[in-house]
Amino acid sequence: MWLVRPALLDDVNQILEIAGAAGSETARLSSTLPRQHEALAEKIEHSLASLAGKATAGGQPPRFLFVLEDTVTGRIHGTAGIDARAGNGQPFYNYRRDALIHASHELGISSRVDVLYPSHALTDHTLLCSFSITPELRNTEAFELLSRARILFIAGHRDWFAQHITVEIQGVQLADGGVPFWDSLGRHFFNMDFETADQHSGVLSRTFIAELMPPNPIYVTLLSEAAQAALGQPHELTVPNLELLQREGFQAGCYLDIFDAGPVLEARTDALHTLVTSRSKTLHGASEEGGDTCLISAGEGAGFRCTLAPVADTLEGTLKVPVSIWELLDKTAGDEVRVAPC
């Protein structure tokens, strides 16, 4: 069985294996997941404090990290995070793509001039982040479970999160590791390769972005052709994730990632599909494994659990779920759970 639960300090080594080897495809797809033992442990501690509803040192807003566990082997196969407030108390950087129209009345010329404006407009939105999964699980129901479990968590702890929710999709990266947008823009100012900058942004304070980012708007027409083509384009590996998020109700707007120009998706939190379609139910036993497979979650804070189970609904608002699932959720008959259709 696949189970999504909060990350624990004991998970550090296994998570590092997933986030692990620099340059692996998995790693590239999870820039906000630290690759250093200490930084990761801190992130998990912060998550645990957030789950306990505790204020943390420095008054950082809550951040949560969940893992995908194979309950048979006990092994961890993926991670998924939520930052309650994008930027975590500091500015959250994006480029906002906008167009100016340069027109000469006298010459009868009119042209559209695309400009990338530095923007912090998404600061303090809730952010889905730190998503990583072992490659063999892509396009499986475990993948969907891991991603959507977060929305059930948000549904169960709605007060902790903002009205708007955002997720950054990794942008175009070539087979040789080159990132066209970065190579055309950021590299000149940060004087480092994409991997390094991306890792810094996950681990360090974001002061370095304020310090190193070009302070003025950027004309798109001066970017390399490859960089222009990459604006707002997702990395091909992220397409399944992107589609999943679009089904959730996320839409690409005018914001782009400052490092790789990947699209930034936005949604109203209360309009997320999983949240809207989820229902609170009372847990009951099922004699046989019948019914549609659903996402089912239970528990508050550190007790949060989410899994997939065949569910039979009853007219009385109770839910028949196999007893094996009760244990996984750490709940028993009569307890409240939250269920959402797959």
Binding site: S104, E106, F189, N216
Partner: protein, 354 residues
């Protein structure tokens, strides 16, 4: 004899012929009869002080007194940026540094600037091919410094010159290709021409307003920023010898540099001396090398005239001039004149300074 004098109506044909030959390089003197006539008119108004002093355009012709033809032109614009907005890029540096990461990056950056507004510009230099050499170009250029000095109240303390930037034989400019062409949907020559014609509203409308970070331009474009066209290198060298320095501004189209100097530190100005004319019939060999000549001006605002004579004519308080030279300068014995060496380290100057 070649003499500098104010441009006049009768010069139109000669001027047009010169402009036609010069081709695309000279944007302030396009081969357009109407425009040239307007410039002549403006120059006449200027010398006659019938226009606002700051709107003045002082244009000088180099006349061959034998053929009575204008064989060269040069000018001073009293103030730029009054009628039309005057744009340059300022070549600046943006520094980004992070102590935390040990990163320190300097990014050369072009900022759109109007900072030359209200400054006097030396401009419009053009010399017929047949008259190249023999110091004629120097006379055409340097006579302006004598005028600037003489009538400095009409000009700004600092003067500048825009130097033609790099372009290839087809008139293609690497900076234009990498930058201007992305914003102006026209050819470099067309943009340059429109700008030269004084039609600059399109620049305000089409120009990118935010700074341009140079690392985003190709090497070919970055390489020409602040560099002059091969044909202009001698003119730059001459101005540098006069004390002009690159002031960090470049042309928005081709990246050519702007050089500037305080009038009172220009070499020609510093080396100028006053004398009185002494018209004499003593035979003087006028045909001496440029290094042995001095420029003589008649110090007239309305009818400014300059020619060159051998340095040997210069005395302690006077200068001996033949009747022909005096006539060309429209002066008589006893009239005040002002002298300056034609060439750097010219003979006369060397004599005076040691």
């Amino acid at each position: 004899m070649l003499v500098i004098r104010p441009l006049q109506d009768t010069d139109l044909d000669d001027l047009y012929a010169m402009a036609q030959k010069a081709g695309k390089g000279l944007t302030t003197l396009p081969a357009d009869r109407d425009l040239l006539q307007r410039k002549i008119n403006l120059a006449r108004e200027t010398f006659n002080q019938r226009c606002a002093p700051e709107a003045g355009l002082y244009l000088f012709a180099l006349e061959d007194t034998v053929t009575k033809k204008a064989v060269g032109i040069s000018g001073i614009q009293a103030r730029v940026g009054l009628d039309e907005v005057f744009y340059n890029y300022r070549l600046s540096v943006t520094v980004n540094a992070s102590k935390e990461l040990g990163v320190h990056v300097r990014t050369p950056t072009l900022h759109l600037s109007n900072d030359m507004t209200d400054t006097s510009e030396i401009c419009s230099l053009l010399l017929s091919d047949e008259y190249q050499g023999g110091g004629n170009g120097l006379l055409l250029s340097r006579c302006r410094f004598m005028y600037l000095d003489e009538f400095h109240k009409h000009f700004s303390e600092k003067v500048f010159a825009e130097m033609r930037g790099v372009s290839d034989e087809q008139g293609l400019s690497p900076l234009w290709d990498a930058l201007g062409s992305k914003f102006f949907d026209m050819e470099f020559t067309e943009a340059d021409m429109l700008s030269g014609l004084g039609n600059k509203a399109f620049i305000a409308e089409l120009m990118p307003k935010y700074p341009i970070y140079l690392p985003m331009l190709p090497d070919s474009a970055r390489a020409v920023i602040g560099r002059v066209h091969g044909n202009t290198a001698p003119a730059l060298k001459m101005l540098q010898a006069e004390g002009f320095n690159f002031n960090g501004m470049v042309d928005i189209f081709d990246g050519g540099p702007v050089v500037e100097a305080f009038v009172n530190t220009i070499r020609t100005v510093r080396d100028s001396r006053n004398r009185h004319a002494m018209v004499t019939r003593n035979a003087v060999n006028l045909d001496v090398p440029a290094a042995e000549r001095v420029m003589v001006s008649n110090r007239s605002f309305r009818n400014f005239r300059v020619t060159t004579v051998p340095a040997s004519c210069v005395g302690t308080d006077t200068i001996s001039l033949s009747p022909a030279v005096a006539e060309a300068l429209q002066i008589e014995s006893g009239d005040p004149v002002r002298l300056a060496p034609l060439k750097d380290r010219g003979k006369w100057k060397a004599q005076r300074q040691r």
